[in-house]
Subunit: 217 residues, 2 copies
Amino acid sequence: MLSLTEENYLKSIFVLNLEKSEGASTNAIAEKLNTKASSVSDMLKRLLKKEMIHYKKYQAVKLTDSGKAVAVSILRKHRLWEHFLVEKLHFKWDEVHDVAEQLEHIRSKKLTDQLDAFLGHPKFDPHGDPIPDKEGNFPVKMRQTLDQAIEGQEVLIVGVKDHSSEFFNYLERLEIELGTKLKVKTINQFDASMEIEINQNETTTISSEVAQNLFVK
Amino acid sequence: MLSLTEENYLKSIFVLNLEKSEGASTNAIAEKLNTKASSVSDMLKRLLKKEMIHYKKYQAVKLTDSGKAVAVSILRKHRLWEHFLVEKLHFKWDEVHDVAEQLEHIRSKKLTDQLDAFLGHPKFDPHGDPIPDKEGNFPVKMRQTLDQAIEGQEVLIVGVKDHSSEFFNYLERLEIELGTKLKVKTINQFDASMEIEINQNETTTISSEVAQNLFVK
DNA sequence: CATTATATTTAGGCTACCCTAAAAATATAT
DNA sequence: ATATATTTTTAGGGTAGCCTAAATATAATG
């Protein structure tokens, strides 16, 4: 049985590995968990003993199969709860994360699976991220970001990359949410900023950084 | 901010005080939390420093107003979650407790209040225990138990005193649940056991101990 | 009231995490 | 390749909670 803290380490390592497949560095883990590198070194020893990670001193960390299973189960719970919070309890995009970080550690297979059924086995969480199923399968496919669109193209918002509340607030002001239809009017050659039309309605200009953080279809 | 462990201590002290108003003893707390008296002594010092309890060495413990507020909020969350588990996720009586013990520690006022609203502001949990409202008010009224009924009386099950899974399984076999109608046919003078008719249907004999653990109206 | 039994606290020690500062390994730059 | 910078690990220490064993208070009994 793993502690809450150990679960969080595994989750961080898993997420870092999705980004860079060569493994997670001590410093990167420390940053993600708001802790110090020395604490991470400490923990890595413990996780190694529990056979949750592959680890050699001074080298990047990878998860074992058991470690991966734990991480995915946490991710599944996190995203199911986010779905619950938004769909059933009317939470807003930027309010769900902190609560889901707590709920993801509740230990009860029955709870997770019943919740999944109660929600109608959703495939994506409110940010458009895929929800692993009971067996831990989920699509990790690369998704297209808005900055890859061309002038005149019409797209649908299917997810966000950045999860900061600053970004969520910005999107809310623009009335952009999952399912919103966008049309790229013009792309500024100088800084790659875009003039976009939102829901066949208002037209605004967004920076390329914003465009890079919106998944579209 | 209190730790999960501290919250559990406060909850235990609160529950013990409901039973005996003179305060909770070190040993009683230890037993309730499956820990040792010495650990309790330890913790009492910490809770005293945080002004959560009234405590003098070798004397019973009582909660301060802040301590009481914390305990009631935990109780509120516990019972709301039990309601959720039974009503929405189809958990059975004896399956809810362990999960609710985890969920009761989730920190989010918004979550608790939205859950309350989502459930329709229920007044009682699935065992018939009252759910404190936002302000922490809830009835602590003495409830009548089945053993106080007289021959020929018809009653409605409104709650259970014992919360063990053995008792829940027993009740399930008898098809007794909240709202079940009972009729007391005869009371055996010797051991106070009762012959009862369940839901205008089967007739069974139950011991006086069972009768003492059923709240009726 | 003295004695014995029980309840509670203290003393000392353990583990899981966390930290800072110093040492060691690795990576980068001249 | 040597010097410097960065990353990672170790050493040593702190706190929250837990434990056992011993000491002390309180309660019960003859």
